[in-house]
């Protein structure tokens, strides 16, 4: 076996290849031959059976019509078949009927009864095949036929096949050898080359030798791996060389370092000093020979020797865990020095040594001793000071306790004050409700009666009632305002405000009074941005108060409003408003009290001028709330100047300007058909609202309480609900919550209706109500609030007019006579009133003007006139005062245009 494994890989490859191919050939041929042997045998059997049956059929008639000679002549047909030797025919009882043999010697056919054969049989016997078959015709057996054949042809065929097999085997082996021999040259040549290369490397130790792979097969990969391995070996050897050089240098450096180190170093082996440097010799004194091969412990002071043994003896130290101790050492065996010894265990070639590095700390030890002495003194000093501090601290704690007590008392007082203030606010709120509710009915019903009663005496009475009611309401409002301000309940609602517009409105408001008094009103505005961010209601209230006072106390001369701005940046300004009058003036001594509550200089003149003396107090407080100041300059009989200064007012970009709610033009407003529900337990409130919305096109429904309200809501849908907050049982807010949260009710705006001016703060009901109305309710306030939620049409005529706006006529077809009549009518009937309208902008009168224009133009449908009234109507609908004024001032131009039209038509005729 060892012989086989020692053989060359080439020979092994050839032998294995021949073996494999020979075995494969033998197995393959054996299988084929086995199959062929059987095939030959079967063919022989089938052939002889077929021949037997053919002969059998031809001898049927010989058996049936007994004719043994005829039978023999049929049997003789076997002469044509070489391998059939003998044949015999038996009748159905098995008796011999005829027979024939090719052999020359006498033939004795076998006796069937002796052979004990039942049915057809094949018998191989002594190199011959014997066949016995039954002779059938039309399913009837007529006899038996016996045939005897030799098997020589089968045997010769088998011999031939064996010969072929042997020859094939020989041929395959020869071919295998030739092919394997050629293949091994291709396969193993590079491998043998690599083997040879390895031997060269080993013998010459030349690691630069590399193999050159031709292909990328396994041998190619092996060659590449060999090259890589050689690279690695070459690199490693180079690195080893470098490392050795480095090591040598390092060792030299180390020796220089240790020898010249200022730190004394000792290397001990088995307690004996094995090595020391120059500093080591210097520390211990004497020469190197007194140190080398001496026990290190001898150099230590006796008091340190036990400690040294404990920490630095062999076996105590551990690798990489240095230990430092302070010990005493004897220099020249006499002088005691303090040293800090650091010991490290190092292992070299299996033996361990102890390296000791020593630092002389004798100087430090002496200094430490001095410091300890000083520390002792310092501690005494600190103790004294600490005692003093403790005493001071005790005093502080005592004072703190007293302060806490005082603070508690103050807090109690404050809480009491807050409670009192709250009680006051509650009282005022309730009082306001209690006074406003009856006042609501007084003013409201008086208002209604004024429209219905014609008797001048009663009208005067009613006017007195309304005036008194208004005055009382103003007083109550002022009292409430000042209460709210003092209670700190005023919250600012900043919005986009057009201050210019407010001042114009106020001018319009006081215009009749100013005309009556013959006082000039001057408005001077410098660089005011269109919109600023401020509380509109409060600034309006302040200006109203101040202008109202100026008007009140000025009987001649002028009232001048000057608005100045100081631009801080493009987002904010400082605003200064001067209200100057030429009125009665204020005395110097009263100027200080001017802004106090209920202060009015001319109490004696109070009857003449009226007022509560709260206006300026309210204004001052509101201005302060707006982060501003108010000041006054005045001389008796020369007039006064009030100056408001508001700092850092934000400017608003006018792109997202919101339209102000529509102002009511009393008596002419109509709404598109809608149903409103008024929920109030007080009957006269309900009647008042019903009267107010009479003839406005709205359907009025009322409910006394929540039960009635919900019943009505179940029955029908409403477009708006007016909800009293102080309802019996569940209250207006709770009922509103029920309505808003129930999906079966149609969503509609709900307006809160309350007499309480203080308690009602929108923030409390945020998201719940869509608006609010305060008692006593005024007609205008109601209409304005309703107009925010319901669609307005003005009056019927205007509605129709607007619908027909598109029906422009062609002016070319216009009758000149009709045109002339229209021009005359415009000049005589309408033109005289235009100046008045332009000055006072009475919306009701402007609407009447549009209706009249519409009526005049009904037949002619003059396009200029239609366009004019259309523009005027649209401006009025938008309450665009500027455009209304432009339209009115263009009335003359309209007439001139119509005249030109008339002239052109008459000239054409």
């Amino acid at each position: 076996m060892k012989f086989w494994f020692n053989l060359s890989i080439r020979i092994k490859f050839i032998v294995i290849t021949i073996l494999i191919s020979s075995i494969s050939t033998i197995v393959g041929l054996a299988i084929v031959n086995l199959f062929q042997f059987n095939r030959v045998k079967l063919d022989k059997e089938n052939d002889i059976i077929l021949k037997s049956k053919l002969i059998g059929e031809y001898v049927v008639t010989s058996l049936l019509f007994p004719d043994s000679l005829g039978a023999v002549s049929v049997l003789k047909k076997i002469d044509a078949v070489s391998y059939i030797k003998n044949i015999a025919l038996y009748d159905s009882t098995g008796k011999i009927f005829a027979s024939y043999s090719k052999q020359k010697s006498a033939y004795n056919p076998i006796l069937l009864e002796k052979m004990n054969i039942k049915g057809d049989s094949l018998i191989y016997d002594k190199g011959s095949l014997k066949v016995i078959i039954s002779i059938y015709y039309n399913s009837m057996c007529y006899g038996f036929l016996y045939l005897e054949s030799d098997l020589e042809s089968v045997s010769s065929r088998q011999s031939e096949m064996l010969l072929v097999m042997l020859f094939s085997l020989l041929l395959v082996s020869l071919m295998s050898y030739i092919l394997a021999n050629n293949a091994q040259r291709i396969l193993f040549k590079p491998l043998l080359k690599l083997t040879k290369l390895t031997s060269i490397v080993t013998n010459s130790q030349d690691y630069t030798i590399r193999s050159i792979p031709k292909y990328e097969d396994e041998i190619g990969v092996l060659m590449l791996s060999f090259n890589k391995m050689m690279d690695l070996i070459e690199r490693t050897i180079n690195e080893l060389d470098d490392a050795q050089v480095n090591l040598r240098h390092s060792e030299e450096r180390y020796r220089g370092l240790v020898n010249n180190s200022p730190i004394p170093i000792y290397i001990l082996r088995e307690d004996k000093c094995n090595f020391t440097n120059l500093a080591g010799i210097e520390l211990l004194g004497g020469s190197i020979f007194n140190i080398i091969n001496h026990d290190f412990i001898e150099f230590l002071d006796p008091s340190s020797r036990k400690e040294f043994q404990y920490y630095f003896e062999p076996g105590k130290l551990k690798e990489n865990e240095p230990i430092s101790r302070e010990m005493k050492i004897l220099k020249n065996a006499e002088e005691i020095l303090f040293i800090n010894i650091t010991g490290i265990k190092i292992v070299e070639f299996g033996d361990y040594s102890t390296v000791l590095m020593c630092v002389n700390v004798t100087d430090r030890k002496i200094a430490e001793h001095e410091i300890l002495k000083l520390n002792a003194n310092l501690e005494n000093e600190i103790e004294i000071r600490t005692k003093e501090l403790k005493f001071a601290l005790t005093e502080l704690i005592e004072k703190n306790k007293q302060l806490t007590l005082a603070e508690q008392n103050m807090r109690t007082l404050m809480e009491e004050a807050e409670r009192a203030n709250k009680a006051k606010t509650e009282f005022i709120a309730n009082m306001s409700h209690e006074i406003r509710t009856p006042l609501n009915s007084i003013i409201g019903f008086s208002d209604i009666l004024l429209k219905k009663i014609k008797n001048p005496d009663y009208i005067n009475f009613l006017n007195s009632i309304v005036t008194s009611g208004d005055a009382l309401l103003a007083i109550i409002n002022d009292i409430l305002d000042i209460s709210k301000i003092e209670a700190g309940q005023v919250e600012l609602r900043l919005s986009k405000v057009n201050l210019n517009q407010i001042l114009s409105d106020l001018q319009q408001l006081f215009l009749p009074k100013l005309i009556e008094k013959n006082v000039e009103f001057i408005l001077e505005i410098h660089n005011l941005p269109k919109y600023i961010l401020i509380d509109e209601a409060r600034i309006r209230q302040i200006l109203m108060n101040l202008i109202s006072n100026a008007v009140k106390f000025t009987d001649n001369g002028f009232i001048k409003i000057t608005v100045k701005t100081q631009i801080l940046n493009h987002e904010a300004i400082n605003l200064t408003i001067d209200i100057e009058d030429t009125g009665i003036g204020i005395s110097n001594k009263f100027l200080d009290k001017l802004f106090d509550v209920f202060s009015q200089e001319h109490w004696d003149k109070n009857r003449k001028y009226g007022g509560t003396g709260l206006g300026l107090a309210i204004s001052k407080r509101l201005i302060e709330k707006l982060n501003g100041t108010i000041s006054v300059r005045s001389d008796i009989d020369s007039g006064s100047t009030f100056t408001i200064e508001l700092a850092d007012i934000e400017i608003i970009d006018d792109n997202d300007y919101n339209h102000q709610p529509i102002k009511s033009s009393r008596g002419n407003v109509r709404f598109e058909p809608a149903s409103i529900l008024v929920v109030d337990d007080i009957e006269f409130n309900r009647i008042l609202i019903k009267e107010y919305i009479n003839n406005t096109g709205l359907n009025y429904y009322e409910a006394q309480d929540s039960t009635e309200a919900l019943e009505l809501l179940d029955e029908m849908n409403f477009d708006l609900i007016l909800m009293d907050l102080k309802l019996p049982e569940i209250g207006g807010l709770a009922l509103t919550k029920i309505i808003k949260s129930n999906e079966k009710y149609k969503p509609c705006p709900i307006l809160a209706f309350t007499a309480s001016a203080i308690k009602f703060e929108l923030t409390e009901y945020d998201g719940m109500f869509d608006g609010y109305l305060v008692k006593p309710l005024k007609h205008e306030d109601l209409i304005i609030e309703l107009s925010k939620h319901l669609k307005i049409i003005y009056n019927h005529e205007l509605g129709n007019y607007y619908e027909h706006l598109s029906e422009y006529n062609n002016d070319a077809d216009l009758d000149p006579i009709l045109l002339n009549t229209i021009i005359n009518s415009l000049e005589s009937d309408l033109l005289p009133g235009i100046d008045y309208l332009t000055q006072y902008l009475i919306l009701g009168e402007i609407e009447n003007l549009i209706v009249k224009l519409n009526s005049i133009n009904a037949n002619a449908k003059i396009s200029h006139l239609t366009k004019y009234s259309n523009e005027l109507y649209l401006s009025m609908k938008k309450f665009d005062v500027k455009n209304i004024k432009i339209s009115l001032s263009n009335f003359n131009k309209l007439i001139e245009t119509l005249k030109e039209l008339y002239n052109s038509k008459t000239q054409n005729i």
Partner: protein, 193 residues
Amino acid sequence: MISHKSNILNDLKHLYVIAIILLLTVIGNNSEAISKMNSQINENSLIAAYIERFTRFVDWPLNSNVNNKNQSFIIGVSNNYELFLKLSELAPTLKIKDKNIDIVLIKTIDEINCVNLLFLGAKDQEKLLQIVKICKENSILTISNSNGFALKGVIINLYNEQNSIKFEINDNIAREAGLKISHLLLQKAKIVQ
């Protein structure tokens, strides 16, 4: 026409044997006559056996009642009363084409067309052409043992040669009658045209 069922034939067989014994007793010692009679009896037995064997090698046309399993195979015998008796004796023990056999004795020419196989005696020579015509039309296999009958249209004719019975076949007539004769029988016979 006389028709014998197999049970009646059994009785007749006994009567026939008794009649022969009585006849021998009455005639006395006439040995030549007895010998001739015995020879005649053996020949008829052989003919009877051959008739059955011939049918194994002949196929009748599909429309012939031979192929109807419900009808018996009818053999008519004309002018050979001994053969009639012999066949009648053997009929119960045999089957042709897997059917029972009825034997009829033909006396007039009109009785021919109901048989499947007709044996003609030597006396039928006078009306032979007429009989052959009827037999051809009705697919009747005709057999005889008279010289020259095959040449005159009988399909199988038995004859004696060197003391053994041979047969000749007129295959053309057989084909005209719609009958197919196996080649095995043909190769054993002498073919006449």
